[in-house]
């Protein structure tokens, strides 16, 4: 049992102030090194303060994303969730997921790879350093958040198992456990949840396998213990509570493609010019704000545009 009591969770303002403190510590330490050897003994002491926080080696110390947009509150990120395995009511997921146990957990990585492996979360974190990434998340329903994730680049994990030359897509599978996931009993979807990425999307530097947010391990409602984060695609592509990752030859059929093929395609790139059949995608409501923001192409991550060169994104939505 590695569950986190809500009282242990760092409130957002402390998290933010701690990070600015850490930035200060780092700056002081840096200055000390530059200043020479006479204060050398002190830098180690300063370093300890930083290491007690759940590892944020890549922490930027920023309270905004790269566009200067502020973080969504920890409360909103952990109480406003789409996770149909628990319930379709976004504001009820946290409560319904409270007793979900995600330890022990194993992640199977296989398919068309040279060396298939099964990892525990501890294995993964020992092998690959966690990084902090502040990403915008845009839900297909028309709302968005800015979240400081912790995680490892998916590309680094795939490199460890070595995809064969035949591998073209990556297929992800969520946990299948109707006894502990009331939504899987209640709603007649084709469980478990499946998602997929093209190999070049999966190995893109932005693509993250997340194990935490706001400096803490993921809570069940956010997809504990490990989930995908693909910030330039609609939120539903970022599959939660993953148990299996497979390298495959054919394009996987995702959960939503199977459920309503007319409404959901494989790519699901954030695109303000292609509306969902039932609603516009031109703008979005940032949770915690009034009014709407214009939705950005690829959710503002223009660096992925080259992945889709020559494709008709109206057809491949």
């Amino acid at each position: 049992m590695n569950r986190i009591d809500p009282s242990e969770i760092t409130p957002e303002h402390i998290y933010l102030s701690r990070r600015s403190f850490m930035v200060g510590v780092a700056a002081t330490a840096g200055a000390a090194v530059l200043a020479g050897c006479e204060v050398g003994g002190d830098t180690g002491t300063s370093g300890e303060g930083a290491s007690t926080t759940v590892g944020t080696p890549g922490s930027t110390g920023a309270a905004t994303d790269e566009l200067g947009q502020g973080l969504t509150s920890y409360e909103a990120v952990t109480t406003y969730n789409n996770f149909y395995e628990f319930t379709v009511d976004k504001e009820e997921v946290a409560e319904k997921a409270a007793d979900f146990v995600s330890t022990p957990w194993t992640l199977e990585v296989g398919g068309l790879v040279d060396s298939p492996r099964t990892f525990t979360i501890a294995d993964l974190l020992a092998l690959l350093p966690e990084e902090e990434r502040i990403y915008r998340m845009r839900c297909v329903e028309g709302w968005s958040m800015v979240i400081p994730w912790l995680g490892i680049p998916l590309g680094a994990l795939l490199e460890m198992v070595g995809p064969t030359s035949e591998a073209r897509f990556v297929r992800f599978q969520s946990i299948d456990d109707p006894e502990h996931l009331p939504g899987q009993k209640k709603y007649s979807y084709d469980w478990p949840y499946i998602e997929g990425l093209r190999l070049d999307e999966a190995t893109h530097d932005l693509t993250l396998l997340s194990t935490g947010l706001y400096g803490k391990r993921l809570l069940p409602q956010n997809g504990a213990p490990i989930r995908l984060v693909v910030p330039w695609k609609y939120g539903f592509k970022s599959i939660k509570s993953i148990v299996k990752i497979e390298l495959v030859r054919e394009m996987p059929v995702s959960f939503w493609m199977a459920s309503s093929p007319r409404e959901y395609g494989f790519y699901a790139n954030v695109n303000p010019t292609v509306d969902h059949p039932r609603w516009s995608q031109k703008a979005e409501r940032r949770i915690g704000e009034f009014g709407r923001r214009d939705t950005l192409m690829f959710n503002g991550y223009d660096e992925v545009a080259s992945l889709y060169e020559g494709m008709d994104l109206r057809k491949d939505f």
Binding site: S73, K90, E91, R278, S280, K282, F290, G291
Partner: protein, 209 residues
């Protein structure tokens, strides 16, 4: 009675203002503000429509002024509801509002109900009532149409219709049915039952008859 009407109608608004000021709204305050003002407008409109039948059944004429008071507050909350939709939700952006209304066609039904309430509010002053005379009564029967549209808007807007919404629809249905000419006899019967102790033939004529 009037004071009670004002106080009762102001309470939900004050609670909402309190919640907004103390951060008691959910993480999706736009949704909560929109839904609560809409619900308050709807409930006050239904209560306003219920005043007429209550007076006719019980003969309690002292409650009659509540129809106007509650109706005016219903319009007030409906205005806040509309403002929340176009302002808080869509930031007063015309292009987004047009898209939003096309996606949520029930918004048009709600808008129709709002426009009816606007007309009723504009013609609710004493001077207007006097000047319009018999036409005023006809115009103000539109309140029932507003009630029907508001109900449709409410049932259509929610994702899943619950027992509560069905119950409200039932109440509005009964209130509309009581407007039918056939219902007039029902009122006479009910009132006779309520006043059985004093046989109407022998007693002095009452003010209403």
């Amino acid at each position: 009675m009037r004071t009670g009407g004002h106080v009762g109608a102001l309470v939900p608004g004050l609670l909402l203002a309190w919640d907004a000021a103390t951060g008691g709204l959910s993480v999706d305050p736009v949704k909560e503000l929109t839904q609560r003002t809409g619900k308050d407008a709807f409930v006050l409109l239904v209560l306003s429509l219920a005043v007429g039948p209550i007076v006719r059944i019980t003969g309690l004429r002292t409650v009659a002024p509540l129809a106007r008071i509650l109706g005016l507050y219903a319009f007030g909350y409906a205005t806040l509801h509309l403002l929340a939709f176009v302002g808080l939700d869509f930031g007063f952006r015309g292009d987004l509002i047009v898209d939003g209304v096309l996606e949520k066609r029930f918004a048009l039904i709600g808008l129709t109900a709002f426009l009816i309430l606007l007309v009723l509010t504009a013609t609710s002053t004493r001077a207007r009532v006097r000047r319009l005379g018999p036409i005023w009564k006809r115009i103000h029967r539109l309140a029932y149409l507003a009630g029907a549209f508001a109900t449709l808007h409410y049932l259509w807007a929610v994702k899943t219709i619950t027992r509560e919404q069905l119950a409200w629809a039932g109440v509005v249905g009964v209130l509309l049915a009581l407007r039918l000419p056939e219902a007039a006899g029902l009122f006479v019967l009910t009132r006779r039952k309520l006043t059985r102790e004093r046989p109407p033939r022998d007693g002095p004529p009452t003010a209403e008859s």
